[in-house]
């Protein structure tokens, strides 16, 4: 699973809403190409972009089990998940290669954003001969 983490503290680029139109266009096209290439290679399993963190809600069960909903945004929120890809790849090295590719999504001035992509293995059932 490749997770696109946005970190407000570590972000070295301005919000996408302030980019030039051609920069936005190039970024969108890059993400489209990445997804098409993953599908083409048979590595795409699923992927989703997540809506703006300002829309998030945090839910806890109250004393009686009823939901207690707290709505965002939270000024103290430093990091949030912007989206993820689940890929089925031959090796951990390939997952890292893909994450690096995604990290180069173009930003202002067409420069790569080099945003952090968290790579984590999804847990699986043991292989039949593992026990």
């Amino acid at each position: 699973m490749l997770m696109m983490q946005f970190s407000q503290a570590a972000a070295e680029f301005p919000a996408i809403g302030t980019w030039k139109p051609e920069e936005v266009e190039r970024h969108i096209a890059f993400m489209g190409e990445v997804n098409a290439a993953l599908t083409e290679a048979g590595e795409w399993v699923s992927g989703e972009g997540l809506a703006d963190p300002a829309e998030l809600k945090i839910v806890r069960a109250g004393a009686d089990g009823a939901p207690v909903v707290t709505e965002g945004p939270f000024p103290e929120t430093k990091e949030f998940l912007a989206g993820y890809w689940i890929v089925d790849v031959e090796s951990p090295e390939r997952a890292i290669e893909l994450a690096a590719r995604i990290s180069t999504a173009p930003g202002p001035g067409g420069r790569p954003l080099n945003m952090p992509i968290e790579v984590r293995q999804i847990m699986d059932a043991p292989a039949p001969d593992a026990w």
Binding site: K20, V24, I28, G32, A51
Partner: protein, 397 residues
């Protein structure tokens, strides 16, 4: 018979057969299993032996036998004697011959006790003849999840037909199926179920059964007139192209002609319902050679009618945009300001998106860009967010 025509025939016949058996035995879930087995038998035998002359009767007889075997098997343990009479009585000729229970089946699948999501799934399975795998793929959920959802729905409506159903509920489910196909763009295209096409096919079937209902005609017209624009609605990488910027030469002229003819046929019948009004609005858009040359005064009047028939924040929003096209952006913005108090609109993305468009029309570039950014942050649709973000960027230059 080509494979395509063969499959089409089975899909047309399956709901009729299911309808007959459900009416006869009052057990929807058991009837559905029996029909699936009869379809399987047809798939195995017809290609080699040819399609029987009375293909509908053939399917009914096979499904009927399967159902009897099923019920006998289940009954054997409990009430071996009591049900024999009902089971062995042959089906009346009329049931086999010409009675069409498809509409009753639709009413059953759109039962008010079901959630809309379950009603949609059950309708696609029982009336549309789609496999569970296809429906799951169309709604992007695992097949096991969809199978459970359909089983739950079947249990809910188990007891079969009761009083005549609510045609409005059926039309609503068909419209939801249509919209699902219209807005979704995910999934591998080869196996993807074309939900819009399926909704149009089912609505045509309902129209054949209830030709006197003007709202059925209105819904079919609305679907045709909306679907006609589909080829121009998205760009090369799936990006959203707004109505005003669409290449109208790519619209489907035949679908538009059929839709407009339908509108002209049903509208004069009165009383006019919301689907007919929406179809009339879609017809005005489809007839216009360009966004500017659209008959906006008439669209504004029709939104007024629609707002009286089915008041909703979305209708009010569309009416404000039409008002801006007729009376200028200031008038439209004043209407929008009055809507800002509506809780349902205040939190969503539609209101800021509409405001952004009207502010842009009015030349308030900075304010418009701000509204586009707000709308982009609030939408949960990727193509929509991309479109709004790009629009904001263009204005900020």
């Amino acid at each position: 018979m080509t494979e395509f025509a063969f499959e089409g025939l089975l899909r047309d016949l399956a709901p009729q057969v299911l309808g007959v058996l459900t009416r006869r035995f009052g057990d929807f879930a058991a009837a559905e299993d029996a029909v699936q087995e009869a379809l399987l038998a047809a798939f195995q035998q017809w290609p080699a032996q040819g399609v029987p002359g009375n293909s509908r009767g053939w399917l009914i007889q096979v499904a009927h036998r399967r159902l009897i075997e099923q019920i006998r098997g289940a009954d054997a343990r409990r009430r071996r004697e009591s049900s024999a009479f009902q089971l062995s009585a042959p089906l009346a000729d009329a049931e086999v011959a010409d009675r069409d229970d498809t509409l009753d089946l639709l009413f059953l699948c759109c039962h008010p006790a079901l959630s809309r999501a379950s009603a949609i799934a059950l309708t696609l399975r029982a009336v549309g003849g789609l496999t569970t795998a296809e429906i799951a793929r169309a709604f992007l959920v695992p097949e096991a999840t969809m199978a459970q959802r359909i089983s739950r729905a079947k249990r809910t409506v188990q007891s079969g037909f009761s009083e005549p159903g609510d045609l409005d509920a059926v039309l609503q489910v068909l419209y939801l199926i249509f919209n699902e196909g219209h807005t979704s763009s995910a999934g591998p295209s080869l196996l993807r179920v074309e939900l819009s096409a399926e909704a149009i096919r089912l609505t045509r079937a309902v129209r054949a059964l209830r030709p006197e209902s003007a709202e059925v005609g209105g819904l079919l017209a609305l679907m045709l007139l909306t679907e006609a624009r589909a080829p121009a609605r998205t760009g090369p990488v799936g990006e959203l192209v707004p109505l005003a910027a669409q290449d109208r030469s790519r619209w489907d002229a035949a679908a538009i002609a059929e839709g407009i003819a339908l509108v002209h046929e049903v509208l004069p019948r009165g009383p006019v319902g919301p689907y007919q009004v929406q179809a009339a609005i879609a017809a005005l858009h489809d007839e216009a050679p360009s966004a500017e040359a659209t008959d906006w005064p008439q669209i504004l009047a029709l939104y007024g009618v629609l707002e009286r028939l089915t008041p909703s924040p979305v209708v009010a929003l569309n009416r404000a945009v039409a008002r801006a096209m007729v009376e200028g952006p200031a008038a439209g913005l004043a209407t929008l300001d009055a809507l800002a108090a509506d809780e349902r609109l205040a939190r969503g993305h539609r209101l800021p998106a509409a405001r952004a468009h009207l502010l842009e029309m009015a030349g308030a570039r900075a304010e418009a860009a701000e509204a586009y950014r707000l709308a982009a942050a609030r939408t949960a649709s990727v193509p929509e967010r991309n479109y709004l973000t790009l629009r904001a960027a263009r204005l900020a230059e």
